[in-house]
Symmetry: C2
Subunit: 222 residues, 2 copies
């Protein structure tokens, strides 16, 4: 994947003006990610971001209609990127078991390096997804936003891996539950291991989270 110029295309419904279409737009994404990571979603504001990038609050509003929709945009960008990784990592694998295994690894492993293919720091973005993404759908307007397609990239990723599950075991009754539980569960475990370690069994230097979810999957599909 490292030599590949991937183009993560984001549905226009997620923005007012495409942030990838201008230098300012890219700066908004880049520094926006850094600031949400640093301040947390609640304390982050477009005003502060404007100061940081020597631009203006009102200019940022021309790209995203609200702080919430900026988060939703980032979440969709992230899942598009993960989808890309999934597709390329599984395309040449012929065994269904291995394809599923590889997918679960991608969904649960720590993202350690910013490959710099894109202008986005994926390590930071991943951390935001872990600690803030649930705020994108834990809102009173979920149903309305779901209708507008706000969560479709995430759903597509789940469905994709779900298909691999059914290839391994066509009779398994809970493929969607399994995959969405693994994805959310891995995020929780990573967050807990950093902040509430007594809720996990993560050992230093070990890839406990990947191992746990792989073991879980294998045993339940057997």
């Amino acid at each position: 994947m490292n030599d590949l110029q991937i183009n993560i295309s984001i549905d226009p419904s997620f923005y007012c003006k495409d942030p990838e279409s201008s230098a300012l737009g890219k700066k908004i994404m880049q520094v926006g990610i850094e600031m949400i990571h640093e301040l947390g979603y609640e304390a982050f504001t477009f005003k502060k971001l404007g100061v940081q990038i020597n631009s203006n609050e009102s200019s940022i509003y021309r790209y995203f209609e609200s702080k919430h929709s900026f988060l939703v945009y980032l979440v969709n960008w992230y899942w598009s990127w993960i989808e890309c990784k999934l597709v390329f990592a599984t395309i040449n694998i012929h065994s269904a078991e291995e394809r599923l295994e590889k997918s679960i690894q991608i969904l649960t492993e720590e993202i350690k390096e910013d490959n710099e293919i894109t202008f986005i720091n994926e390590v930071l973005l991943n951390k935001i997804i872990i600690s803030e993404s649930s705020k994108a759908y834990h809102t009173i307007d979920v149903d309305k936003e779901n209708e507008k397609g706000y969560y479709k990239t995430y759903k597509r990723v789940v469905q994709r891996v779900c298909d691999f599950v059914l290839e391994v075991n066509p009779k398994f009754e809970y493929p969607h539950m399994l995959i969405s539980t693994i994805i959310e569960g891995a995020h929780h475990q990573k967050y807990f291991s950093k902040h509430l370690p007594s809720l996990t069994d993560v050992e230093e230097g070990k890839n406990s989270i990947v191992e746990f979810f792989l073991k879980l999957t294998k045993s339940v599909l057997r």
Copy 2:
């Protein structure tokens, strides 16, 4: 449990003035729960609650130092209540397997009836926990709040069930991960089944969520 006068005792660090000690305090909890359920955590305010209970914003602040700490209080109240249920439901079970099974059922089943032992509507509180409780710990101040003991009731519940897991299989390496994944996972699945059903495999009339997590547990501990 129905004839039992349980007393859910809440650590004084979670409030300024004990809400269970006065009529106003109880009203704050009771109506507060209803309003968070109705408006969502973000749109809920102490001012609106004051209007609803014919009291005053400033009076509510005498019970809870902030909206956030009110949520934290409710989350702890909920886990104390669940802990109670767990203790009573497992006390007379002699088989370790059955004890674990019963616990997982309690942690994953839908709470359908307000038993009215307490003045709290547990059905509504459970719904708040499902959709809002992650906001109690997905905050930039997690570490500080963790030190203050804000999440201790939840941790105690996880540890309790974790002990049952180790009784069933003392060699299992990931008991905390398993239980916290089940708890959070069940909440997610319930939320998804209502708002993002394509992420689940919930069938009407069936207890799919309980069954899924029971199956997962049994197969991974085998």
